[in-house]
């Protein structure tokens, strides 16, 4: 017992570590779950040891095991699920958008780079979409200020 339970926690954590270092998104997520299993077990072992007393329910006879690690783990389990759920859905979306499940490729994806700035021009607000293409750009006979960075993507809206 004294060796077996720490060993199991260590196995779960080692598995988790190896998977988290993977390049595949799903294996990374599964690795995080394995790490969580290992961590929860470790906290329980570190908190209440391996001695077997009664569960912390005051309706039964004591002595009781330490309730505090159990409370901490309960929170951790629920939060862990939240993390996994979010990551899973995010992975699916990222895969659909970027077409890859390679962790580093996702990070380097061009869509994630900050966009080249298209700025609003204070002197030439864009034309409302239902009114049609912006005609400011063609020419301006009264020598107005040049039409700086008018967005070309105005018709996108339609």
């Amino acid at each position: 017992m004294e060796l077996l339970l720490p060993f199991l926690a260590a196995v779960l954590i080692a598995t988790g570590v190896y998977l988290v270092l993977s390049k595949t998104m799903i294996r990374l997520i599964i690795g995080l779950s394995m790490l969580a299993y290992g961590a929860n077990l470790s906290i329980l072992l570190a908190g209440s040891g391996t001695e077997l007393a009664a569960p912390p329910l005051l309706t039964v006879e004591g002595p009781y095991v330490d309730p505090l690690p159990q409370a901490l783990i309960l929170t951790a389990i629920v939060i862990g699920f939240g993390t996994t759920a979010l990551l899973m859905v995010l992975a699916v979306r990222a895969y659909q958008a970027a077409g890859t499940d390679h962790v580093q490729e996702l990070l380097d994806h061009p869509d994630l780079l900050p966009p080249e700035g298209v700025y609003a021009d204070p002197e030439h607000p864009s034309v409302s979409p239902e009114i049609g293409p912006d005609t400011n750009n063609i020419n301006a006979d009264e020598g107005a200020a040049s039409n700086g960075a008018e967005s070309k993507a105005e018709e996108e809206k339609a």
Binding site: E2, V65, F81
Partner: protein
């Protein structure tokens, strides 16, 4: 109906309608605006509460918010607040009606009206709030709704940029306001604006920082130099929004702040600061407005300029003239923006160099624009003349520099007002050959505003009626306004303004050419972009320096020392005596080993998930064996939910491809994971002999007595550590929202590459 109920209803009804708007918008489309505009009815009904009693005792209402810490939404309508609330509600009503004609059939009507109503409610709350914290909250809410409305056409880069810029500048002001409000509460000894102790604030060491921050907030919201940069680019918003938020109401929030805190600045150096910032803004805004070719840009710079005028008057302590001009500006500017919307709609352009002679085709629009534009120019018999005369009279007291700035600014104002009107004169030119007059639903909302611009001039007592209302609130003498007060210096200056303004209008081509030549290569905009680009570069550089390596490499670096520590101490802590392993533990152990191995070797998505589940269920078993029934139950539940989640997204998951690591990397990772495992193992052995007292006895002893529960784990979660659990619930709620949003995105992205990539193993 009691007054305080009406006051609460005035603020809360628009918010309620904002919730309804998406539903009405999807069924009634644009016409929903007419129905939703009724949300302003309670605010307009405040008219019934006017009377002589108001001067003695302002209306008030209180809604408990967080009573435990003295937070409440206290509303207090003195005459000034009430007058402004009437402007907000009245113009809000007209703008909603106008938007029904303005918005195309394809727009997202529900969303538009919802944002507009949130703004309306927030603005009413802002002017009526008496509690300083609530004032700040409403202030921020107007900034946020302004952001949403400027970026309403959110696929356009220019709209995104304009919205972000407006939010950055006004939110900066909002933060300043927060600090100012806290300082005022500390120094003034109350959270109620009406109960602040003026003398102790003035004596306090907080006085200067509080007032400075308050002014920063007011200047950034009301687009005073050098914060004016956000207003012109806010014109990326749909035109009804420009008419409502960015000329008539929201940009006046800064003025309201300065007006309400007038007693704080009076007779201090701050009054002169406000005066000169306002006058410089008046001049600079007008100077820039004159050279604009886009009608909306012209009105935007003109708004900056007019806000400067009103700001200078409030700052210098002339609330009568300021309030009169505030009213004039709200009516004529909203009307002019709506006229631009009509021109834009009917001709397809707002470019002054391509439009002229429109009065032939749009006679009605011209008739509506004329009083508004002439009021802006300051010509009799329109409202603008009355307040501009007051402005001159007051500035004459202030010395030669203020009056020079005032007259110069007004000359340019006169010139650009005529430039605006020039779209209607001359030979007919238009992009659209088949221009025709706007429909009734388009022009009727402009009518009351244009009539007001005329009425305020020919019958100034109507304007006085409003200023008299505001008088007790701002503490000035109510006096009737007059159109003609005899020949005085102000009138002579006005005539001078018209003459020089007309000359400037006629010579405008040369003046603008001269302006272009003088334009420096930098301005507030370039400084703003340089600063924001600099910040972005700094952040990117810092990230690159500190986190340049790949995600996995970072983890390797973090785990390496951890692994080395474990490898070094190895079996140091092996216990002396060992107890035998019972059979149930052996089963759990085998399941965990199988699960771990299976996950590592799995070749398909399904088997990987199944093996993970195996490890999960074996930890349920371990929890049971280790006397943790609550954990076992929770884990069991979570495992079940996880399986459901995985199965629901399963068909969208990528096929489990193996992106193989290089052999050397794989060997390193194996050694690293074994090292981390060893460290955990060693650490768990080490802590088996407790080194200190445990705190479990406290929980076990007091669980029943203090919290009345016998399941100690549950008691810790919901009572002893209740705040932690609240945080946890918040996190889960956020995750829930994010998952929902992500799944909705997927449902909407229905075309292109995404479809092809879906595996079809349904």
């Amino acid at each position: 109906m009691s007054a305080s109920f009406l006051l609460l209803a005035a603020v809360l009804t628009p918010f309620g309608a904002a919730i309804l708007a998406p539903f009405l918008g999807s069924s009634l489309k644009a016409r929903a605006g007419l129905l939703l505009a009724l949300a302003f009815a309670p605010a307009l009904a405040l008219l019934t509460q006017l009377g002589p009693a108001l001067a003695e005792e302002p209306l008030s209402a209180t809604l408990a918010w967080v009573p435990a810490i003295g937070l409440e939404i206290a509303l207090r309508a003195d005459g000034f607040s009430l007058m402004f609330a009437l402007i907000v509600a009245g113009i809000g009503f007209l703008v909603m009606a106008y938007a029904t004609a303005y918005l195309g059939a394809q727009e997202r009507h529900g969303r538009f009206y919802s944002y507009l109503l949130i703004f309306g409610g927030a603005m009413l709350g802002l002017v009526l709030a008496d509690n300083l914290i609530a004032l700040f909250a409403f202030w921020e809410l107007t900034s946020i709704s302004s952001f949403l409305l400027i970026g309403f056409w959110d696929s356009r880069k220019a709209s995104q940029d304009g919205a972000v810029k407006a939010l950055l500048v006004t939110a900066f002001g909002g933060l300043a306001l927060l600090v100012a409000v806290i300082l005022l509460i500390l120094a003034g000894g109350s959270t109620q604006l009406s109960l602040l102790d003026i003398e102790s604030i003035r004596q306090s060491a907080y006085f200067i920082p509080a007032v400075t921050l308050l002014l920063l907030a007011a200047f950034s919201k009301s687009a005073q130099l050098p914060f004016h940069l956000w207003l012109p680019t806010a014109m990326e918003a749909p035109t009804p929004v420009s008419a409502y938020l960015h000329s008539a109401t929201m940009v006046k929030a800064g003025l309201v702040l300065v007006a309400k805190f007038g007693w704080l600045f009076a007779d201090t150096a701050f009054a002169s600061i406000i005066l000169y910032v306002g006058l410089l803004t008046l001049f600079w805004g007008a100077y820039l407005a004159l050279r604009q070719q886009d009608l909306k840009a012209l009105l935007a710079y003109s708004t900056v300029s007019q806000l400067g005028l009103i700001m200078s008057l409030y700052g210098a302590g002339y609330p009568l003239a300021a309030t009169a001009h505030l009213l004039n500006q709200a009516t004529f500017k909203a009307a002019l923006f709506m006229v631009v919307g009509i021109i834009d709609h009917e001709t397809g352009s707002r470019n002054l160099s391509r439009l002229s002679g429109l009065w032939r085709k749009l006679p009605l629009t011209f008739a509506l624009a004329l009083p508004a534009a002439l009021s802006m120019a300051g010509l009799p018999p329109f409202g603008g003349f009355v307040s501009k005369e007051l402005f001159y009279e007051d500035m004459l007291y202030k010395g030669w520099l203020p009056i020079t700035l005032a007259v110069t600014g007004s000359i340019i104002t006169f010139a650009y007002s005529f430039k605006f009107l020039s779209v209607f004169f001359g030979p007919l030119r238009s992009e659209n050959p088949k221009v025709h007059e706007a429909s009734l639903s388009f022009w009727w909302p402009v009518l009351p505003l244009s009539l007001a611009a005329l009425l305020f001039g020919i019958y100034p007592l109507t304007l006085s009626w409003f200023t008299n209302l505001a008088a007790p609130g701002l503490g000035f003498e109510a006096e009737p306004l007059k159109l003609y007060k005899g020949l005085n210096l102000a009138l002579i200056l006005s005539v001078l303004t018209w003459v020089l303004g007309l000359a400037l209008y006629l010579l405008r081509t040369r003046f603008i050419a001269w302006q272009q030549a003088l334009t420096p290569s930098w301005n507030a905009n370039t400084v703003f972009y340089a600063l924001s680009a600099g910040l972005e570069r700094l952040a990117q550089g810092l990230t690159k320096r500190t986190q340049g390596a790949s995600f996995a490499t970072h983890l390797r670096l973090i785990w390496l020392p951890f692994a080395l520590a474990g490898l070094a101490v190895g079996g140091w802590f092996l216990p002396a005596k060992l107890t035998p392993v019972s059979l149930s533990f052996a089963v759990a152990a085998l399941m965990i080993l199988a699960g771990s191995l299976g996950v590592l070797l799995a070749r398909s998505r399904l088997s990987a998930l199944l093996f993970m589940g195996l490890a999960g269920f074996s930890s349920v078993l371990l929890f049971v064996l280790l006397r943790a029934p609550d954990l076992a139950l929770t884990q069991l539940l979570i495992e079940a939910v996880t399986v459901i989640l995985f199965l629901s997204v399963f068909r969208y998951l990528p096929v489990l491809k193996r992106h193989h690591r290089r052999r050397s990397v794989a060997i390193f990772d194996i050694i690293l994971s074994l090292g981390v495992g060893t460290t955990v193992f060693a650490a768990l052995l080490a802590v088996q002999t407790p080194i200190g007292e445990r705190i479990k006895d406290y929980f076990l002893e007091f669980s029943e007595e203090l919290a009345g529960g016998s399941n100690v784990v549950n008691v810790i979660l919901v009572d002893f550590r209740g705040y932690d659990t609240m945080g946890e619930i918040t996190v889960l709620a956020l995750v829930g929202f994010s998952v929902y949003a992500l799944l909705r995105l997927r449902a909407r992205a229905s075309s292109g590459k995404i479809e092809e990539e879906r595996p079809d193993d349904d």
